[in-house]
């Protein structure tokens, strides 16, 4: 899996390449894995936990499944965590990023449309809401190409700067009106 990862993560054109997770999610998973790892070690040794409680010794506990799951979690994190690209990869990613950003800006609901609400007693505003739903159906939520471009943007952003959560924030590229 690790070998595949090297290929997939650097290639933003890869059709089914996984979208790297964001920096906040990476941090959350790292903490979860650390906590699980600590728990597993304490299970093996019966040592004391940080909060003063003591983990049981795992003499009669099958920890194989837990170890397997932990290994899977670590592999998944390696596979899904964003990795900053080198200069050439960044140049390529920037091109993909700009293309996706332009597509998203021209197809996503505007911030004004995002705030539209159904108003049955106000035909004009109700029609605005209806148009926003139709636009979302044809250009955003119901448009498979939009999702592809969002994924392309997230992949490219993670190569350009894996630590910037705002760069991959699709919502940021909506137009005002």
């Amino acid at each position: 899996m690790a070998v595949k990862r090297t290929y997939v993560r650097r290639n933003t054109e890869q059709k089914h390449a996984p979208v790297p997770i964001g920096p906040a999610e990476v941090q959350r998973r790292k903490e979860e894995i650390e906590s699980k790892r600590e728990y597993l070690e304490k299970l093996k040794s019966g040592g004391q936990m940080d909060d003063g409680t003591t983990a049981m010794q795992a003499n009669n506990l099958d920890i194989g499944a837990l170890e397997k799951q932990l290994n899977r979690d670590e592999q998944a994190l390696k596979y899904l965590a964003p990795v900053e690209g080198n200069a050439s990869e960044k140049r390529k990613a920037q091109k993909d990023f700009d293309e996706a950003k332009a597509y998203i800006s021209s197809h996503a609901l505007t911030l004004s449309e995002v705030g539209k609400y159904p108003k049955p007693n106000d035909p004009e505003k109700d029609a605005d809401y209806g148009r926003a739903v139709e636009k979302s159906m044809t250009m955003e939520v119901g448009n498979p190409e939009f999702q592809k471009m969002c994924n392309q943007l997230k992949r490219a952003a993670s190569i350009i700067d894996p630590n910037d959560p705002e760069l991959r924030n699709v919502n940021r590229y909506r137009l005002e009106r």
Partner: protein, 302 residues
């Protein structure tokens, strides 16, 4: 000469600790029963099998057409055990004037509660990456496959929570097809959101009349969805503008989304003679899984 020891009479000296555990644990309102079907497997590894749908009913021309359906993807889920305990020395117990031991046992209950909740929420937290369903793709993915003749379908989006996007997502979910491309008869009826979206979601579905308007019109979305706000454990984005959200079909979700509980949380204790300590421990074994993705449509914004 035989002596009375704490290990032989641990119930007498420690009986209140079990009550503390029960009270602490019972106080918490878990989201698990609301979203998951709890199941008690009878083997360490559970296999879930998706079945191929039947085809469309043809016109009867004097001879009955017998359809040939077959099994679809299979997914396995393995039992994982969790255990943790506290040891209390005799001296501490005797001198514990401020109820520290009781608090520690209560903390033990909290830890188990947190572990269960985090395991369950982890299913949704990893929906766009590590939580996989029977076709080996992520739970929310743009090209779920079928091995029984159906076309690829997606249930992942990147759209912010808004009335128009909620309605568009509902329409897409209604159009989901079975694994042989038949029309489904299940419709979405629930929104699962993190704390950041609670207010927006409440405004969207709970208000009878339209908000922020002088005309006070009827709210189109009112009563359309049940709302599940998973505080703390559903971690997805730090602001409402980046928070992930899910639209689900609660009936279908309850059918497929399982919280496997091989051993429910148990609390037990024993005295240890050699060190004159008493041990209090909790134990459970559980895991979560769903072979099916059609109950859910997720949006991952950032």
């Amino acid at each position: 000469m035989a002596a009375l020891t704490q290990s032989n009479y641990s119930h007498v000296v420690q009986k209140d600790l079990s009550e503390v555990f029960a009270n602490e644990y019972g106080d918490f309102q878990s989201m698990i029963p609301a979203l998951f079907q709890t199941a008690e497997p009878d083997q360490a590894i559970v296999y879930e099998l998706l079945l191929g749908d039947l085809g469309a009913v043809p016109v009867f021309d004097g001879e009955i057409f017998y359809d040939e359906s077959k099994q679809s993807y299979r997914k396995s889920t393995e039992e994982i055990e969790y255990a943790m305990g506290v040891k209390v020395t005799k001296k501490l117990r005797r001198n514990d004037l401020y109820g520290v031991v009781r608090q520690q046992v209560a903390a033990l209950a909290d830890r188990f509660r947190a572990k269960r909740e985090s395991l369950a929420a982890g299913f949704f937290n990893g929906a766009f990456s590590s939580t996989t369903v029977a076709d080996t793709q992520a739970l929310c993915y743009s090209a779920h496959t079928s091995d029984v003749g159906g076309s690829n379908q997606g249930n992942a989006g990147s759209s912010v929570f808004s009335p128009a996007n909620v309605e568009a997502t509902r329409r897409l979910m209604i159009k989901f097809k079975t694994n042989r491309d038949n029309i489904t008869t299940h419709f979405p009826d629930m929104l699962i959101v993190p704390t950041e979206l609670e207010e927006q979601a409440m405004t969207l579905i709970k208000s009878t009349k339209e908000v922020n308007t002088a005309t006070n019109n009827i709210n189109f979305h009112q009563g359309k969805y049940k709302l599940a706000v998973w505080h703390n454990w559903l971690s997805s984005g730090s602001t409402a503008a980046t928070a992930d959200w899910f639209m689900v079909n609660s009936g279908l979700m309850k059918k497929y989304l399982k919280f496997y509980e091989w051993n429910p949380v148990e609390f037990f204790y024993a005295g240890e003679m050699d060190t004159i300590t008493s041990k209090h421990a909790g134990y459970m074994s559980c895991n979560v899984s769903s072979p099916e993705w059609r109950f859910c449509y997720g949006h991952n914004i950032a």
